[in-house]
Amino acid sequence: MRRKFHRRAMLRGMLAGAGAVTIGLPLLDAFLDNSGKAMANGERLPPRFGLFFFGNGVHPERWVPVGEGETWSLSEQLEPLRGLESEFSVISGMEVKTPNDIPHGSGEAGILSGASLIIEGEHNTFRAPSIDQIIANEIGQTTRFKSIEFGAQARGGSSYNGPDSRNPPETSPFALYERVFGAGFRAPGEDGEVDPRIALRRSVLDAVMEDTKKLKGEVGANDRRRLDQHFTSIRELELRLARLEEDPPSRAACMRPDEVPMMDYPDIDGRPQLTEKNRAMCDIMAMALACDQTRVFSNFITAPVNNLLFQGAMAGHHQLTHDEPGEQPQVHAIVLQLMEEVAYMLETLRAVPEGDATLLDNCGVLITTDVSYGRTHSLDEFPILIAGSAGGKLRKGYHYRSQNKENASKVHVTMMRALGINAEGFGVDEGFTPDSLGALEV
């Protein structure tokens, strides 16, 4: 089934970046100082942010661990994370404070943007940017990609710049590979002439920006905002091209992935190959971070309200959360499958050394979903994990149990501050808080 990719097609056309490529030596660990936290020249290894977002919630009573603080043990639904206990913290008892107007949609907007949904008839959209974009605007401006969104079965994704402005996730491992490591990418030490076409493409983008400016003058206020986004997108693309003309970032762990993923992952028995696709994409993502192509990623593995047929399940996920009787063994099995994927992602990040620490150490990863208990769309006892330590700033291996349904937005404030972002708070109206969770700060 593996369809090999044609080298010719990759190099074909305008998008071929480097010309004659000569292979040099990769940056060695010797360039890092002894702690591995910083480059020898004093530049600190950057903290990165990741989001793992899945649809349809959990079973809170089987999710929340027994014990608190530093003495706790994995719950039934966190069992797949065994062996990683020291790499993440569980935050339980929090509540999404924004109004629960639309099942799934309100929770999705509440946990990711801290704001209520804009509801216009049958059409909904986020009111405020999602956490990944708020963070990307702060820590993503110097890399080739400000952020990368992907997800094996993601649909439209939940990364928003603002109302009706989404960042669609990549759903194909092959396309994700091409985007980051295809034509134009150079690993550290790979030398090569810069293709003159890159500069020409940039001047074409300048012309496109002129067209956008002119059109802006003709339309109404709302449409100007949409064209502003187009303008920003073009400018970011221009920056990406400019970075291809520069020398690649020096990172010891950076290697071009040696295997190009499959073009297609056909369904098996009518079920998508969720695991295979997700793992291929996590592998690529880890290397994109290691090569400093981006510092912000979002894995929207499955979408809110998704009705996917999981391997082994007898009905779609969403339907099962509502209609499966009793203890919902099939829903439980799906949650376990999703946690297996969390474990894979964390292990993959941990496997990349960065000096004497790991890539995972230098990440702050938020793992959550759109509702707490899928059957009732509840927003209290919200399932939240944070993994990695954002370069030593987040406490790991801890169970923070809120006693009084604290605002879930406190997690985001904690995360942003750990990443070195001087945030005044997170959220809008009921969802807003200026406070972080001190217990999780180092």
Binding site: G13, M14, L15, N100, D101, I102, P103, G107, E120, G121, E122, H123, P129, N137, E149, G156, P163, D164, S165, R166, N167, P168, R179, P196, R197, L200, R201, L205, V208, D211, T212, E218, V219, G220, A221, D223, R224, R225, R226, L227, D228, Q229, H230, S233, I234, E236, R240, D269, G270, N307, A315, G316, H322, D323, E324, P325, R375, T376, H377, L379
Partner: protein, 571 residues
């Protein structure tokens, strides 16, 4: 109005003959379907709230169709572009809200170079009208690049270019050619610039500022694009742009002539398909998920085949028959291939491809609600869903909004039990819950009328071993099963006005509020009824109405929150 109805029938028969080439062209011209003058006058007199000034992004299909029409059918258009979003009922309305993400800009850039390279490889004969000679002859190279820009620029941007725009594209071409030492490579960059421009990717409908009146009339170029993308789902052809340059599209007679011409073009059939596919969300059939252990017929072929069945049947009714739209509910004629024939358990009408088949009169299967497209899409992967199917009828066929379910309630349906073996019985237990009953009583009884068709649309007489009872009532009209349910929907007083409302929104890009229909929609709907529910006549009325031809002046001021958000985005 029996006499006018009879005249309408005769006219439609004539048109059918005309399309079949049975009668001569003179007779055909005289047999234009008559529209009762009083309904036309009512449309002219009707009040309407103008659509807001709009900026529509080309949908993926529109992008691809436009490239094929302008640059050649043999151009392979990359399938990965900024995704469409659906707003309310339509992707076509989402196009007025969505923007272009960072990822989208990248995809459009890749597509632009890919398409531009193919164009120069395959069609330089057609689009490079001159010999530039040596690159060192700057004047001649520029002149030749200018001819290229003049040929393609106005087609791609659907309007004449300003001299600044023209010069800018020529400059891109010459500087790229000089850098790369190849004249045609310069043209590739100029073409890629046209294709990435918002002047191609968006179409603005802001009206003529100098008209000074409220609402503003759209100008000729805006009208050409709007007509074309609404009616054909693709870019204007040369004839339409020529008509625009002559000012004919802002003139009643000129507009009517163009609408008539466009409706006779093959592309109008594609446009009609695009409308119904968007309305019923048939694009989702590409990802149809059904558990193969329960549905042995399921394969990747099913979704697209089911969609084709529905669209062909609609196209046949509307264009070939000029039939009564309401017959879509009750017609036993359909167009199927072998795959669909096996699902319906009837003989395949053709060895290959699609052909007309007729469902026998002794089965309930008929019309739109007897098709796998609707029955399978509005169901679960393992079972039927009376709620989703009932909701389809309420919201798509009758335009009766159903509120979203409240969050924070347990919505589970009880499992089959001794006392409640069938889905009907289980739902009845469920509906004892008063918070659910209010809305579900609007939907579930209709959906239960379709229980003879499983989650893939296969006929069955039993559910869990018990004989299916598909009876119920729809707004006071009793039905036994789909045979009488289809008639009840056909005769429902919302059925005709609902299609009018949907098409009006699709065509104008205006989202109508819930509640009483706007006067203009009612007037067009009356005209639709007076034409014996001739869909083309309804479309004509919408496209020539002021609702289609005017927009409100664009809002000039940001609200404070918008200004803040806009600032944030630019930051």
């Amino acid at each position: 109005m029996p006499s006018s109805a009879t005249a309408g029938k005769i006219a439609r028969i004539m048109v059918a003959f005309c399309l079949l080439g049975v009668v001569g062209s003179a007779a055909c011209r005289e047999s234009e379907p008559p529209a009762a003058p009083d309904t036309k006058a009512a449309i002219s007199a009707a009040e309407h709230e103008p659509a807001p000034a709009n900026l529509m992004r080309l949908t993926q299909a529109q992008y691809s169709n436009s490239i094929h029409d302008i640059l050649g059918d043999d151009i392979v258009v990359p399938s990965r572009l900024e995704p469409d979003i659906r707003a309310g009922d339509f992707i076509a309305l989402g196009a007025g809200k969505t923007t272009i993400s960072a990822r989208g800009a990248e995809l459009y850039e890749q597509a632009a170079y890919d398409i531009a390279e193919q164009t120069l490889e395959k069609h330089s004969d057609a689009f490079v009208p001159c010999e530039p000679g040596s690159l060192s002859d700057a004047a001649k190279t520029e002149e030749c690049a200018g001819e290229f820009v003049d040929l393609l620029g106005p087609r791609i941007w659907r309007r004449p270019l300003s001299s600044t725009e023209r010069e800018r594209l020529i400059a891109i071409s010459t500087s790229s050619a000089n850098t790369l030492g190849d004249f045609e490579q310069g043209l590739v960059f100029a073409l890629a610039a046209m294709l990435q421009s918002p002047n191609f990717l968006f179409r603005a409908e802001v009206g003529l500022e100098e008209s000074g009146t409220e609402p503003r009339a759209l100008d000729d170029w805006e009208m050409a694009s709007k007509l074309s993308y609404v009616l054909w789902n693709t870019t204007p052809d040369r004839a339409l742009l020529d008509a625009a340059s002559r000012g004919e599209l802002t003139d009643d007679e000129g507009l009517t002539a163009q609408i008539d011409r466009m409706l006779e073009d093959e592309r109008a059939r594609h446009g009609l398909r695009a409308f119904f596919s968007d309305l019923y969300q048939l694009e989702r059939l590409d990802g149809l998920t059904k558990a193969p252990e329960l549905f042995e017929h399921i394969s990747e072929e099913v979704g697209p085949s089911a969609r084709e069945e529905t669209l062909r049947t609609i196209e046949h009714l509307v264009f070939d028959m000029r039939g009564d739209w309401r017959d879509i509910m009750t017609t036993r004629e359909t167009f199927i291939n072998r795959k669909m024939a096996s699902i319906y358990n009837v003989r395949a009408p053709a060895r290959e491809g699609f052909a007309m088949a007729t469902h026998p009169p002794d089965t309930p299967r008929q019309g739109l609600l007897g098709m796998t497209s609707i029955l399978a899409l509005y169901a679960h992967p393992v079972s039927t869903s009376p709620t989703l199917r009932g909701m389809f009828v309420r919201t798509k066929l009758l335009c009766q909004p159903i509120p979203a379910p409240p969050a924070g309630v347990d919505t589970s349906i009880p499992e089959p039990s001794g006392t409640a073996p069938t889905l009907r019985a289980r739902i009845a237990e469920h509906l004892e819950e008063p918070t659910c009953a209010g809305c579900h009583n609007q939907m579930d009884p209709i959906g239960l009328g379709l229980e003879h068709f499983d989650g893939l649309g296969r006929f069955r007489s039993r559910d869990n071993g018990v004989e299916i009872d598909a009876s119920g009532t729809l707004d006071g009209v009793e039905f036994e099963d789909l045979s009488s349910l289809a008639v009840a929907i056909r005769e429902h007083d919302r059925f005709g006005v609902c299609l009018t409302r949907k098409y009006y929104q699709y065509a104008t890009g205006q989202e109508l509020p819930e509640g009483p229909e706007p006067e203009l929609v009612v007037a067009i709907s009356d005209h639709f009824a007076a034409s014996d529910f001739d869909v083309l006549e309804m479309m004509r009325a919408v496209l020539s109405s002021r609702g289609f031809r005017t927009v409100a002046a664009p809002a000039t001021q940001h609200s404070q929150s918008e200004a803040d958000a806009a600032k944030e985005e630019v930051e």
